[in-house]
């Protein structure tokens, strides 16, 4: 596919408004942010689209700011931006931890959170963080914006509520109470696709999310309730093993994912005690 690139059209709008207008009028167009997923899809021949829109010039979408209690991260913020941001380090350290584990430095410099969310891989490493942070995804089209709770964003394996004329413009994260915890398990020390990835928050109502164990990132309401009820960790692990149904694939086995998820739950509970 490499050399087929010449057959592709790339639009390069300078403003968000222009980009959204293009998405409406010249669509369907595939947005490109850091291109770290799109490039691989082109290489693997799994991306049939011929027309693309480059978002990388829309620098306002790269901003990270605070609005009252809410942390607002622009969709074009890269993982390196997140790692370097004092705001994020202070209020959402688990997102910094996740960003540090994504690919390697090159990917962290280019890859964006908008791309991670829109790509919607069940192994996307930032996704469990947004799930437990109860983030809101801000979507825009030529008519205006709408806000979708992260928990309602995905509708299935790599499917979401994102419409063909819409872009993700930001993620809004309300203040998170309690100790944050993140852990990624991969085979290699870098460039590893998660076998299991967990983000969690220790509070009177603990929140737990897992990646790579289901078609989308998942919250574990029953496990959370068990922990909130004061039941022991062993009981919570038992509930967790009922609650998820991971699969066998190239990267791992279902039994492994189940066991490690339970082990991570215990590790979370012990380290945040």
């Amino acid at each position: 596919m490499r050399t087929a690139l010449s057959r592709l059209t790339l639009h390069e709008p300078r403003t968000l408004a222009a980009a959204l207008k293009l998405m409406r009028r010249a669509g369907p167009l595939v947005p490109v942010a850091g291109c770290t997923d799109v490039y691989v899809q082109l290489q693997f021949g799994t991306q049939p689209a011929l027309a693309y829109v480059d978002l990388s010039r829309l620098s306002p979408l790269r901003k990270i700011r605070r609005q009252g209690d809410v942390l607002v991260i622009g969709a074009l913020a890269t993982f390196t931006d997140l790692i370097c941001s004092r705001l994020v380090r202070k209020s959402l350290p688990m997102l910094v931890a996740a960003s540090r584990e994504i690919g390697g430095p090159q990917i962290q410099h280019r890859g964006t959170i908008g791309g991670n969310i829109a790509n919607g891989s069940p192994a996307g490493d930032s996704l469990p963080v947004f799930a437990v942070a109860e983030a809101v995804v801000v979507l825009a089209n030529a008519d205006g914006e709408r806000r979708v709770p992260f928990s309602a964003f995905y509708t299935g394996y790599r499917r979401s509520v994102l419409q063909s004329d819409e872009l993700i413009v930001a993620v809004e994260i309300p203040a998170v109470e309690g100790a944050q915890w993140f852990r990624k398990v991969g085979t290699r020390a870098a460039q590893a696709i998660s076998k299991v990835v967990m983000a969690a928050v220790r509070s009177p109502h603990p929140r737990i999310a897992l990646g790579s164990v289901a078609p989308t990132v998942v919250r574990l309401p029953q496990t959370e309730a068990t922990l909130a009820s004061g039941a022991g960790i062993a009981e919570a692990q038992r509930v967790l093993k009922e609650e998820i149904r991971p699969i066998d694939d190239l990267r791992s086995t279902a039994a492994y994912r189940l066991q490690v998820s339970a082990n991570l739950l215990e590790a979370f509970w012990e380290t945040t005690a």
Binding site: M1, R2, T3, A4, S6, R7, V40, F44, G104, V185, G186, T187, R188, A189, A190, Q191, A192, I193, K195, V196, L250, R251, S252, T253, A255, Y256, Q259, V260, N263, L264, E266, A267
Partner: protein, 758 residues
């Protein structure tokens, strides 16, 4: 040095563990060996590798970078399933596409190329090819042909268990297995009876892919009836003879060139489908044609290290003395391959009197194996060294002490003495560097989730090299020097090493010497760069050529100066008379006018000795008991390869081997879909090689010294040996950390966690 008439004698040469007897020429003279005490000033130092700047600036042109005027691009269409008969395909639609220049399918290539057969026996097998003006067009046309393939599927097998099942479909007409190859010495039954401790294990190793950064590829161009082939290869002369035979043209009309190479690791020893495809299209179309594997083709069909299933028994007395070693191995080769199996190291590594190995090769419907860095020994060492470590644990004996007790003192397999074998010193030096005795590791704790462990394993590997190998050394009229040898550099630094040897022997300054390699048309023959043989094979030929050139220069200088020969010597590109002022080579050559001094050298026969490179590796790992993830913290490697020509280059061979060994131990594994018989991870995304972040501190070193009994340069090979002990050493460290053994590779998190769960 008087010149006698050349005579021919028989000698034995070991290539990748296979012993061959050859008739070879005895050189006119052999220089006296460089011993450990010979003072050398260029050999043994680490000048910057001569192609360093070309490589880091991107100026070095690899085969894939060759662009010829009017060059066309060829792409091979490969079988999408593992077995069947090609019932139909449509080449016309592709042929009609704009930009497509030619297509080939069944019947269009000479039989000797074995290309485009209708019988499909593995997924990835070449079925057709297309040639177009751009690579993009060729790829699109290849997809059009692929979509038209109709294959009448037949049942296939891609695992050893399926191939061995009673009603298994036949992979070859002769059956799915070879006759067991049994090699025995001593009396194993008695050895087992004498044992006080017996360890029995089943070890399984995976299929590993070479994954060289530069894929297989060729650019072919005909000029009249003369063919030039630029090929990424470990053997330019081998490619020449392959192409000449397959296309029915004289070798004299075929020229093979290889300048730089991004890795071969054993998979690039001959011409391949890409070579023949490019050569055939280039001939029909009268234009240069490039055919280079994409990564998917490379991972799916360019060779592999075959899997093994090894039943091992080691038997010993309570003091650790081995009484028997038994191996029963199954080796699923793929559709083809050779029996470079795990048995050999069982016969060579230890001084055990009773050894029996049984190897059965199994054919499966998968791409055929190729030699892969330390073939057989890597797989065998995982089992043998694993079982030795298990024995040490059972005996509660230090694993190094156990090995020292059973040290091989001669090559029992071939019944020969060693030219030199300093493995005991490697252990001693490694223990010192690692702090083997001082490292205290607490018993496995149930509290801390991260556990540490240490492990050791060792290696032997036949690395004597041998004839034939020829070299010429020319002294130019300004005193600079050309070294001409038809060898090739896989990335190991051959150019630099050969220039060092020539400069040393001539007494020339290193900067004035240039080694020219990689061209069959202009250079004298040397063999393939395999079996870690290039330095011990070509090095002595280059030294002899340089000594010959030096003698001629001195004889001429003696005439010019009117001094007897014995009063002259050379250093720093100068002729040094014992009484008069030094005379630069350039001055001698100026005075000689247009006389060109050409020294000729060849590699002499091998001694009747076993020539081996040995070494020991010590490893510390961290295992996360919660996730099963293994991290290697540090590796100490001490090997003895005789004289080290260039320590920096040799050390980087150790680094490369150890890193590849870490990949083999922890990550790398070809996955096949049993139902469809296709490779699932034919890419570098799911076939995982180590990243920089996975590479630990590596302390790599060599014993000082030389092996003058092996050859007169005193050097042995080093490229393959370092990968051999890495995986078993890591496995031993994991077992030490967890208290349970994992006997299957790679040591993936799920296997480790599974072992912990019992």
């Amino acid at each position: 040095m008087s010149r006698e008439r050349t005579r021919f004698v028989q000698t034995t040469v070991e290539v990748e563990g296979r012993t061959e007897t050859r008739v070879v020429e005895v050189p006119a003279f052999e220089p006296a060996p460089w011993t450990a005490d010979t003072p050398l000033s260029i050999v043994g130092t680490s000048p910057l590798r001569v192609d360093a700047f070309e490589k880091v600036t991107g100026r070095a042109r690899y085969t894939a970078d060759i662009i010829r005027p009017g060059m066309l691009h060829a792409v091979i269409v490969r079988a999408p399933r593992a077995k069947g008969t090609l019932a139909a395909l449509d080449l016309d639609a592709a042929r009609a596409m704009p930009g497509v220049r030619a297509v080939m399918g069944p019947g269009d290539a000479p039989a000797a190329t074995r290309l485009f057969r209708r019988e499909v026996s593995y997924a990835g097998q070449p079925l057709a090819a297309v040639c177009a003006e751009t690579l993009g067009t060729a790829e699109r046309a290849a997809r059009v042909i692929a979509a038209s393939l109709v294959i009448e599927a037949a049942p296939h097998v891609v695992t050893v268990d399926d191939a061995m099942a009673p009603d298994a479909p036949r992979v070859r007409n002769t059956g799915n297995t070879t006759e067991p190859d049994i090699v025995e010495r001593g009396d194993v039954t008695r050895g087992l009876a004498e044992a006080e401790v017996t360890i029995t294990r089943e070890y399984r190793t995976q299929v590993a892919l070479h994954s060289a950064l530069e894929t297989h590829g060729a650019v072919c161009e005909w000029n009249g009836d003369q063919l030039t082939v630029w090929e990424s290869t470990q053997g330019i002369f081998r490619v020449r003879s392959d192409v000449a035979r397959a296309l029915g043209v004289p070798q004299a009309k075929v020229r093979v060139i290889k300048n730089y190479m991004g890795g071969g690791f054993g998979a690039k020893n001959s011409a391949g489908a890409h070579t023949y495809t490019a050569a055939l299209f280039a001939r029909t179309l009268g234009a240069p044609v490039r055919c280079v594997n994409d990564r998917r083709a490379e991972q799916a069909d360019s060779g592999n290290r075959p899997a093994t299933v090894q039943q091992v028994t080691v038997a010993a007395r309570r003091d650790g003395t081995l009484t028997a070693l038994v191996l029963d191995a199954l080796i699923p080769l793929g559709i083809s391959g050779w029996e470079g199996g795990p048995a050999q190291i069982f016969h060579e590594m230890y001084a055990c009197p009773n050894v029996r190995t049984t190897e059965t090769c199994v054919y499966i419907n998968a791409s055929g194996m190729q030699a892969f860095r330390g073939p057989g020994y890597v797989e065998g060492a995982f089992a043998l060294e694993g079982a030795m470590n298990a024995l040490a644990r059972a005996l509660q004996m230090d694993p190094v002490a156990l090995r020292l007790r059973n040290l091989a003192t001669r090559d029992e397999r071939a019944n020969r003495e060693f030219s030199s074998n300093r493995l005991a010193e490697c252990y001693a030096e490694g223990m010192k560097r690692f702090g083997w005795h001082s490292t205290v590791h607490p018993p496995p704790s149930t509290v801390s989730r991260v556990k540490r462990g240490i492990g050791v394993a060792a290696q032997t590997w036949p690395t004597g090299g041998g004839p034939p190998s020829y070299a010429h050394v020319r002294i130019n009229s300004d005193g600079s020097v050309d070294v001409l040898a038809g060898t090739q550099d896989l990335g190991t630094g051959s150019r630099t090493i050969l220039a060092q040897i020539a400069a040393e022997a001539l007494g020339a300054r290193f900067e004035t010497v240039r080694a020219v390699i990689g061209d069959t048309e202009r250079l004298p023959y040397t063999g393939n760069s395999w079996g870690s043989m290039t330095t011990p094979s070509v090095g002595p030929a280059v030294r002899m050529a340089a000594e010959d050139a030096r003698m001629q220069l001195l004889e001429a200088a003696a005439q010019l100066l009117d001094l007897p020969l014995e009063r002259l010597s050379t250093r720093d590109s100068q002729v040094l008379p014992d009484s008069a002022a030094p005379l630069p080579f350039s001055e001698v050559c100026r005075r000689l006018g247009n006389i060109q001094i050409v020294g000729r050298g060849s590699r002499g026969p091998n001694p009747e000795l076993a020539v081996v490179t040995v070494g020991a590796q010590f490893v510390e790992v961290e295992v996360d008991a919660e996730t099963g993830v293994v991290r290697v913290l540090r590796v100490v490697a001490v090997h003895d390869a005789g004289r080290i020509i260039n320590p920096a280059l040799a050390e980087s061979q150790l680094h490369g081997g150890i890193i590849q060994g870490i990949g083999y131990a922890l990550f790398e594994e070809r996955h096949m879909d049993r139902a469809r018989g296709v490779t699932l991870n034919a890419n570098l995304h799911d076939y995982m090689v180590p990243t920089m972040a996975d590479i630990p501190a590596i302390d790599a070193s060599f014993l000082d010294g030389a092996d003058p009994a092996a050859n007169h340069v005193g050097a042995r090979g080093i490229a393959e040996p370092p990968i051999i002990p890495t995986a078993p050493a890591i496995a031993a460290a994991v077992a030490d950390a967890l208290g349970v053994e994992v006997c299957s590779l790679p040591l993936t998190p799920w296997r480790v966690l599974g072992a912990l769960a019992g």
